[in-house]
Amino acid sequence: MAAGVGGGRTVSATYAPIRAWLMAPSWLIIGFFLVLPVLLMLVYSFLTKEFRGGVIWDPTLAAYDQFLFDRGLFGDDPPKLQWAYIQIFARSIAQAAGATVFCLIIGFPTAFFIATRADNAKVIWLFLVTVPYWVNLLIRTVSMKFLIRDNGPLNEGLMALGLIDAPFQLINTNFAVQLGLFYSYLPFMVLPIYAAVERYNFALSEAASDLYAPKWTILRRILIPVVMPGVIAGCILVFVPSLGAFLAPDLLGGAKTFMIGSLIDEQFKGSAGNWPFGAAASMILLSMVLVVLTLYARSQAKGQV
């Protein structure tokens, strides 16, 4: 690892003459089958809705208007600010944030604990935390649904133990959705924090302890600020996929209230049949995610200088 680390970052250029050819296949396929579709979706969000699905090539702002303004049941009331869709987005953000906090509360101690084990034990703990991530997401969500349903093993078990008298309702609640999201993305929180804590030099903590700093103060004032980039990375890795999640709200939330994912799905696969609106909602979701990621990239770049 001598090259690159010490000096002014010399980058090997063995393949420089053909690099464009090497990268072209990836560029082309992602460009043609992802960038182009997203651009087309942007165009669609400005087109007129065809009755019962599809679009008419006639530019309009109707989709964004529908998102922002409520014109009443019959569409002829004076426009007032439409809260419903903003609420759906707010709800999704709250759910994603809830899942992120939940992941952080459990994930941080877990990551810390694993990072402070001996090398052999570390590997085993890490393996245990990551295995569920490799299991199909759908199967994990279904398993969670089975476990927490009203007559499921969790409630039966608690009742058998005499801890509760009647099944307490978990399924079809917001908490169930957060639990599902937590369960889906927990390893994303643990791994970056683990990496940061592992790099952390515990001599810093020991020095503070020599100066009679209380234990939890050391954690709060010294360790956490140092591993912060790992914590932020973990939060983003959980928050972003949670925002557009579809399976957890659908299977664990009872599909009773829309989340961003199900709102978009409904426009194309369900009864709403409003493609431009679905495209507009997708663009808004995409913009939000890109803003979060850009802010993160900025802060990372600053941190490196």
């Binding site: 053909i18 087309l40 810390f112 694993i114 490799w134 954690l219």
Partner: protein
Amino acid sequence: MRGGFDVKHYTGFFALTCLCLFILYAPLIIVMIYSFNDSLSITQWDGVSLRWYRDIFTGVESEKFKLAAWNSLTIAISAASVATVFATAAAVGMIRGGNFRGKSASFALISLPIMVPEIVTAVATLIFFSAIGFKLGTLSILVAHIVFCIPFAYLPISARLQGIEASFEEAAQDLYATRWQTFRHVLMPIMGPGIVSGFLLAFIISLDDFIITNFVKGSGVETLPTAIFGAVKQGIKPNIMALSTLLLLFSILLVTCSYFIGKRGEAIQPKS
């Protein structure tokens, strides 16, 4: 140690780690246990049996599940293979291509499929396919999968390549090896474990995908996740639990393999 305590030990962290593992494993273990339930109903325990495992291989729905498993497997192998080849080429271009303008833009483009929320990719791809008249079927799923597999294959491959010193290739080139020979006989063997990890990650991501597949699949084409989703929408049945358990074991097998390949990789990595 003036404070008289271990700075690496915090009370409660071990308990939370155990809680974490409990939450992660409890649902899976419960499903595994119930897959051996002899009862028709999932809520009642009637003793241990393998009937649901027989059911998924010989029952009424077995043909559907077999076909879905076959589709999933062929799509995942094809998508992961193509993505791995593309990602390996891209990684060599990015990491061994010197400094060039647009390097970060190029990296952003390659990682775009990870950044765009899945539901957005799904919708955009559906709109695009329907606009250009691309017939939905197995091929449409494959194309969509290749796209989102590329960054997942790219990450482990480029990470591996970054850890390899350029002196090996430079030595080879000093001895008049062509670029291809250098790649084939010097770079690729050292990159091997990274390429395999990339392939496995892409493979599992493809096998896992539900949202995008559900949008772009054609008539009569189901993958395991879409078939399972269709089945569980009507209620969780015992045969789904047996199927889930088999998939679970398959995933654990894969992750164990990838772990040992990673281990071997560390062993043969040239130390500087």
